[in-house]
Subunit: 265 residues, 2 copies
Amino acid sequence: MGSQEGAIGIFDSGVGGLTVFRRLVEYLPWESVIYLGDTARVPYGTKSAGTVVRYARACANLLIERGVKMLVVACNTASAYALDALREDLDVPVLGVIEPGAASAVTSTRNKRVGVIGTAGTISSGQYERAIHRLAPDVQVFSKSCPLFVPLAEEGWTEGDVPRRVAREYLGQLAEQSIDTLVLGCTHYPLLKGVIAETMGNGVTLVDSAESTAGVARDMLGAAGAGGHNAPSYQFLVSDAPESFARVGKRFLGCDIEHVEWVDC
Amino acid sequence: MGSQEGAIGIFDSGVGGLTVFRRLVEYLPWESVIYLGDTARVPYGTKSAGTVVRYARACANLLIERGVKMLVVACNTASAYALDALREDLDVPVLGVIEPGAASAVTSTRNKRVGVIGTAGTISSGQYERAIHRLAPDVQVFSKSCPLFVPLAEEGWTEGDVPRRVAREYLGQLAEQSIDTLVLGCTHYPLLKGVIAETMGNGVTLVDSAESTAGVARDMLGAAGAGGHNAPSYQFLVSDAPESFARVGKRFLGCDIEHVEWVDC
């Protein structure tokens, strides 16, 4: 496959970003989208800032070579560590998932107590907290990293006893902080929405960055491409194991993925 | 740090191989050892054969440049996929963990029913089964991949309710196969020995490849270096996040790791 001028480029460390892809297609159905999953180097969430920046640059460059007009960094960890570097490097607009997620959280909270969960990298970067405080300095933020949520979602263990107990272990203390809003600060976490909601209780609104990010992308691009005559196309690229991406990705996308191309990035 | 001529080189995708390092030092206390953890690309267990071979070659070349006299592939997935390629590439002896683990299993079993657990990659490669059948064609092998065991061990959740339930989920069926020997076919799994033993019941011997691999290394090298006047030295290299390696590695090694060097491999 060659380049596809004018598509939206989106990348993630693996399959998780498909939750963002899905919302993008829903919100901007006339846009073509190229998705890149860096499955050879997944996960990013446990790796250092320097390494994540290096990997994010490689992903971004590959998508730029394919002629994308906008870059969506679907991975929270890459958004936390690499967004500034990518914005400096690139001539196209670069959108991460943290700012939109933070904005949604600020809109959602009534009691000004917000929880944020994510990978070790995202949480230790403090980026959600900073983004929330830029918008609303008086909001109190309670953060917690939940490393096992990613392998649980990848393994497809999203319901039942094991994820429920893992959720209780990670979120037990957070559930006692009287927060009214919880940011799912990792693209894998929407798959665990059920057990997370159950653990946090009824009064807590879960904010899914995927949705808010797609909303911001729509605001940025406007309806310029709507009503065009070309049918949009979707491409899926991975740096390893296309078959496994297609299989696991189905759970994230909610439908079959027909063709996945291997790329060396 | 420069090269260290004549040391044993050992690599793993991350910290797991420290269980092998520990046994090597115990069995060959007069040998110097260089350990490399490919923490920038961990885990290997979920990645494709081609990608694992590429990473294993990079690790091996780095250790060869440091002058090692022997290479131990501590990672089961890398042993499953890359051992032949490395043996072809290199002039030093290359030892994996699968053949020693298979030999121990064959020695241990009385009823000729052996279980093998490992990563998705190790199990789907079928290498343990082949290695066992080369030694004892009449042994029946029952295999099961247990992907969540690695993140559980890395997270330090090795006891209690969550690992116990995960173990029951993965091993429930295996426990009904009347096996008398179970190979822990991943260097992370010895940390979960407690819950694995509990789930499998009293009659099942757990084979830890770390121990058998160190035994084979001792047989290969002999006592040539024993009684020498030079004190052995130990070096730890990682491709990402040295501090986190030192912290998590402590659990695997059973003692502090003082200096960890970052390398680009």
